[in-house]
Symmetry: C2
Subunit: 144 residues, 2 copies
DNA sequence: AATACAAAAGTAACAAAGTTGCAGTTGAGC
DNA sequence: GCTCAACTGCAACTTTGTTACTTTTGTATT
């Protein structure tokens, strides 16, 4: 039975990335996260002393390889979440809505909720779609 | 017949804001823009010597007053667009999709295209929605 | 039209987030 | 166990935006 570490190794090599301590830790952090994380949030969860520049470069190459995806936020920070198993550099299946809680600020990937399509005026060619909901999440509902 | 300047004056006073040179210029720039602008893009279009801090404060108060709205982007910059006539601090009618061109990078407000709703798992309470499409806009279509 | 006062502007210093260039290190295939 | 491109680490920097504080100004009132 494959351990969590095995899975990380496999994921990296499947995407043509080298096995390095930083990459394994970053991937671990994102895989364990229940919601999208910003660069500095990831940094805080990494082993102390991990270089910030290396982290940003790691995130960039992970994104290019289709390992993680950018999650849009209503503020000016970029957040990332681990892609579901089917993603690759060639084909991103990131067709789900995101939900941002205005209380805890967490952004959830609602993998089971697909983004509805819209009809656009002629001449607009759509390549990708992002749908971000904001409101109050399960955890932050006021007690009844 | 009301001039463009008259309209600016009226818009500011209707929202309880004072008439100042910076506010008039910022509002003018946003009203004239065909697409959403970032802080620094607005700064470039203002009269030379306009203070950057004042600009950011102006944007903040415009947003709070419902004169402009934040437009989410897939990058880490905040962009703003002038609200349509019906918005106020109390009621924002910002229920339209946005379209980002991957070639010219412009973000258009498609005021005529409403955001479709989705059904969420129980316990998620939705307050607002953002829908950002990406692709190629009218201007950037390859010649046929 | 002078006054008063809060709202807005200006100035300086700072902070967070992310990038670039370059030298050194290391994983992985031969 | 060599080789080399891929990756890391350091320094210095840029961009974007903020905070604290002082000065100026728009507007309502007399």
């Amino acid at each position: 039975m494959p351990t969590s570490a095995d899975r990380l190794v496999r994921t990296l090599s499947q995407h043509g990335l080298r096995q390095t301590p930083v990459r394994r830790s970053v991937l671990q952090v994102l895989a364990d996260a229940a919601f999208a994380l910003s660069g500095s949030e990831i940094e805080q969860q990494l082993p102390a002393g991990t270089d910030r520049i290396t982290l940003y470069r790691t995130l960039k190459s992970f994104e290019e390889s289709g390992l993680i995806h950018r999650v849009i936020d209503s503020t000016d920070v970029v957040r990332y979440a681990a892609c579901s198993i089917e993603c690759s550099a060639e084909a991103h299946f990131d067709n789900h809505v995101h939900f941002k809680c205005t209380i805890c600020q967490h952004i959830y990937c609602l993998n089971q909720v697909a983004i509805p399509t819209v009809t656009l005026p002629a001449q607009f060619q759509v390549v990708s779609r992002d749908y971000l909901l904001a409101g109050v999440c399960r955890e932050c509902q006021p007690a009844v």
